[in-house]
Symmetry: D2
């Protein structure tokens, strides 16, 4: 990588909790005000990967909200998501970041064909104005309801026909994916929304020769599952039930209280368990909106299992985490890694990013350490 290269990180949902934490964190780390805990790409295994430095990342993004970043940051400081000192230390930088944000896509106000072009133009303009070598788009907006299948999803030709006919078949997350591809940017979906996962958009990414990945960041309960399930398997202990309850507030809690969105998330959460164990396991996964919890999440899992001669045993865990705080550094990691893929001229699904996701594209590998090994090998391959 050229020493003077700079990389753009374009966030969809750029005024949300995760994006605000990303912007604040980059500013804090760049000004040396804070350490790099939580950043996977700062682990020794990535030292030879030649990833772009943190101070070479420039943020921008789309959002349908117009709330100032500084105000969002103040709310996050109150909730203990970011340190109160950040408001003073990097307030100016947040204001500058705010100027790089653009109006998001609202299907009520804009046709989809026009919208995609406008969004792509915003990304191109960001690259040119800031003199960026490459741009990575990451979707961190609220989870959307499961999209209804549409014939226009099936091929790029059908999608373009639909657009030509004035239809708007794509859900919002896919609209942003399309715009990213048209602008020559990588696209990664950190949410369980549809994003790039329809054949028409796979085709578009292929045509534009850009890499893409996702879906659904693995930040809490599923992260723990991805090491505990292999543990039971490694000891030949038979998991008999695995029940999970997730309590969360904030924007995500409210969204997921919508049963449609919840269906999307619950499926994504359940998928990996059978893959890791090799057999189906009973047990519901609940997601509840508890407004009092704000940006914090409490998950409780109850696991029943049997061992030698059928003896029954139990394990439980409770996870009390701050989702935005857990997600933000991973978004930065993903930006650095997708930037590397762009630099290497790779295109298509980034299966090497499975480590970060509940529902990794084109991969059935859900074991955390196997995923980390693959990622490390990919990153350090010359």
């Amino acid at each position: 990588m050229n020493d003077t290269d700079r990389t753009g990180l374009w966030l969809v949902g750029a005024r949300g909790s995760v994006a605000t934490t990303v912007a604040t964190g980059l500013a804090m780390m760049t000004s040396r005000a804070h350490g790099r805990d939580g950043l996977v790409t700062e682990l020794p295994v990535f030292v030879d990967a030649g990833l772009c430095p943190l101070d070479a990342i420039v943020t921008g993004g789309h959002d349908v909200s117009e709330a100032p970043l500084a105000k969002r940051a103040a709310a996050l400081a109150d909730a203990g998501v970011i340190p109160a000192s950040a408001l003073v230390l990097v307030g100016d930088e947040l204001d500058r970041a705010d100027e790089r944000l653009r109006r998001g896509y609202d299907p009520e106000e804009e046709g989809q064909a026009e919208g995609v072009q406008r969004l792509a133009d915003d990304i191109r303009e960001f690259r040119e104005r800031e003199g960026l070598a490459r741009v990575v788009v990451v979707n961190v907006s609220s989870t959307e309801p499961v999209a209804q299948d549409d014939p226009a999803f099936e091929s790029l030709a059908e999608l373009e026909s639909a657009w030509a006919a004035g239809r708007s078949p794509l859900p919002p997350s896919s609209t942003y994916a399309a715009a990213a591809f048209l602008a020559g940017a990588a696209f990664v979906d950190f949410t369980p929304s549809t994003g790039a996962r329809v054949p028409a958009l796979r085709e578009l990414a292929e045509r534009e020769q850009v890499p893409w990945g996702g879906s659904d960041g693995k930040t809490g309960e599923t992260l723990v599952k991805s090491v505990l399930a292999p543990m039971f398997a490694a000891r030949a202990l038979r998991v008999r039930s695995w029940s999970g309850t997730n309590l969360l507030g904030g924007g995500d809690g409210a969204t997921l209280a919508d049963p449609d969105a919840m269906a999307s998330k619950a499926v994504s959460k359940a998928r990996g368990l059978e893959a890791m164990l090799g057999y189906p396991v009973e047990g519901p996964v609940h997601i509840d909106n508890i407004t009092d919890l704000g940006d914090w999440k409490t998950a409780w899992d109850n696991i029943t299992f049997s061992g030698f001669l059928g003896t029954r045993m139990t394990m439980q865990f409770t996870w009390q985490g701050c989702d935005s705080s857990l997600a933000a550094p991973l978004v930065i990691d993903i930006a650095r890694l997708a930037d590397l893929a762009l630099r290497r001229g790779e295109s298509g699904p980034m299966t090497q990013l499975g480590f970060f996701f509940k529902d990794p594209v084109d991969s059935e590998e859900h074991q955390l350490f196997t995923q980390l090994d693959s990622l490390g090998r990919w990153a350090c391959a010359s």
Copy 2:
């Protein structure tokens, strides 16, 4: 391995809960009355290792107690450790196993030099009478207090001088290790006791060209630690404290209530955490004797950690397991794997067995999956 080969599994503490579960389980599985859950060596990764079949394993052992195996089994069935049906299904086989047990070593009644010879003779006689190709000795007796250092530990010559002078410097676990080595058997310590871990005995194992291993079976809280600590490390989350409370009854609970024995166990438990994380972590590990819990153990761990920009979070887990049930299949696994080492003519510390232990000999690797990889590679190497 010759198809007609049979292997001896000689248990120290042969009338205890773990050993009785081993004997019952082998009989149950051999008679096809039960599946093989809990047996690691039945996982696909070991299919090409050529391990000895379960029905080729013959049990024997030493114990200072004289309680009949069948009576011990009845108590274990009452406590839910083994199925009640076992008492009927394999009662006869337990009676036959009982006849293969011999009187353990009691320092009050026997000099150590004589004791070691007598124990070794018992093992040799077992091998000859049963027509066994090889014998593996596994210590599953109660944890003993931390042994006082003694100059006789330092070399085989000094140990033999001490014995010649009528002294008895070794703790009981080491006495059994010495007997195993003299009888040409492998020795593995499943407890945190001293076992073979003194220079004099390392020397003896070398002279007799036998393999040995240990220590302290990883069956509950530490097993979970060995996947959770690497999870925090893989996500660059900083563990700030890790506190553990272990409640257990039964023989082990009573023994560990003795502060000297507890010191031994707690040190063994704490050792791995720093190795896995790369930095020291505050937090006590308690072991309490709760007689009401019998053979069952409840562990609670509270982990505080920080992530991006220092945000503090918490994870807790509760493990409710049956130690004898968790340990017994691992003892069988160890017997099969040490038998393979003997067959291959390997000698000295079996570092490949670290997967099973809290305090693996001659190894600083504590991550479960890395340990399993090493073990699988060793087992399947031709």
Copy 3:
């Protein structure tokens, strides 16, 4: 009470887990094979109440199943609900109890008017054949879906008209309540089903001058709530959210997996919290069917609260109980106390029994110790 008096305990769902545990337990305690743990009416506070002795209680009941009691008991022993020794010690007594059971009400096979008469005849015949002074009917059958409102519920006259017209408006639980009243027996609903809680049946109980009560036995999570919520109130700590997850298998788990029945149970569980705290509290209550848990239930509650100057704090609890084992002694307690009400000639809602119920009839008192005080005062009033 006359020394030779005997009392009948007629169980609806007489071959279910709770009823089988009741029958086994009465036989075990009468034969002095076991202590009286779990029986509230054996507490010192009831010593002067003159309750009927345990060996003066004769069981009978209705069930739509025909599975032999002894077989049900064997399954409960396997699951650890009752001791295995019971099968031998009181097997004969269970067989005798089995002969006192009658065919339950099946709306597919019997008109409701005829059914009620037949059920009432069964109860009368039981009383006469066994020479009983009084009979208490307790519903311990599976929870039924929430009943659809029907004009026939509104008055006895309308109910009788409906019956005369060949209609069957009552849900099964109410059919049994009607039969009990007609037979001059007390009726208590240990389930959240409708039971006697429709105006028509209240009227019938009044006409027949019999007492009745319920609903929904407080055996686990709600029991704990009924002391913890008052604790928060007593310390002026403000509860901000209270989320609960109940995992259970067995018959009840399967029934409650039906969303209609679950609605019934969840409402009943939620009702008390606001009454105890004086303000509404957010938080869902989930009930999940985990077949692997069998008769055992695991509940997890997460409570967020704030104190002085608004500081936020958290409490969690896990309850791992055996519902049948917790319910059975309460059913015996209720039989003895309703028998006392009958003896005293009391009729109408037994509000004094609120101590036992999640949804106490005609009472808004949910605090456990206040309920126990009321019950004790009532029982010992001469």
Copy 4:
């Protein structure tokens, strides 16, 4: 009470976390900046007790530290114990409160006889200078090691002889109690230290006709115990073991890591359980210093119990509370109630305050609701 009466609350350990939270909270509530959550004396049951208004309470106190209150408050705000807004809103009032603090007793620098006189003079001077009607002294300093018995404890005469002989037999907490009594103030020990609980000081309180009370504020794990243990008793469930682990940092954590102090606290914690259940229960109580937790405490309790026919069940709870935040309003409650006792001319042990304490003076009643009833009746008695 006269409308213009003002009451002094003199805190021992006046620069500690609890005292700083008390001072901040009184200022915040007086300025109407905050609600009254956590204050028991604001519950409806106390409305007719005529307690002194919050804005009539003036704080002062002793401390061996000289750290400014405002600095302590800033640290508490950082730790989330008090709201950050308090630093601005009531900073001036904290500075004024700081001027009312006096140097604590240091046995290295002052003879005990002189020390007691000096401390008493400080309290008298506070009363006069501020024009206070009455003064209540509450000890909220760090827990001291268990005091060695001394013959001087046995009577006031012996204590005065010891003083006359230049000896210093009392532990610091008792020194403050003596000073309070000599100054005509009530004394309450919120810690498990000795305080007034030696015969010589009981005699002194009697002579000076002042009331006193304690000991060891019931703020977390023991508070929960005081409702759960009666719950098990009310349902005739037999508690078989009750194990507790308390993790805490801050000053108290460090002090209690000292085994001598821990002994004092653990005894105080264990005492009530047997009293509430009526039989002894096995199970250790651990207190561990985890510096990372700061002012926050995490307690985990594991309770095993058996019910009908001996069936074994389990309950666990986790309490994550902020000790200073839980203690501070209770200290204010105690001040108001002890002020009432002073006004009524009551003297000797205030057994009515048992509601607040793990180890209530002269009382074996540990059930929270029974204690609250007694307190309410006493307070509202005219």
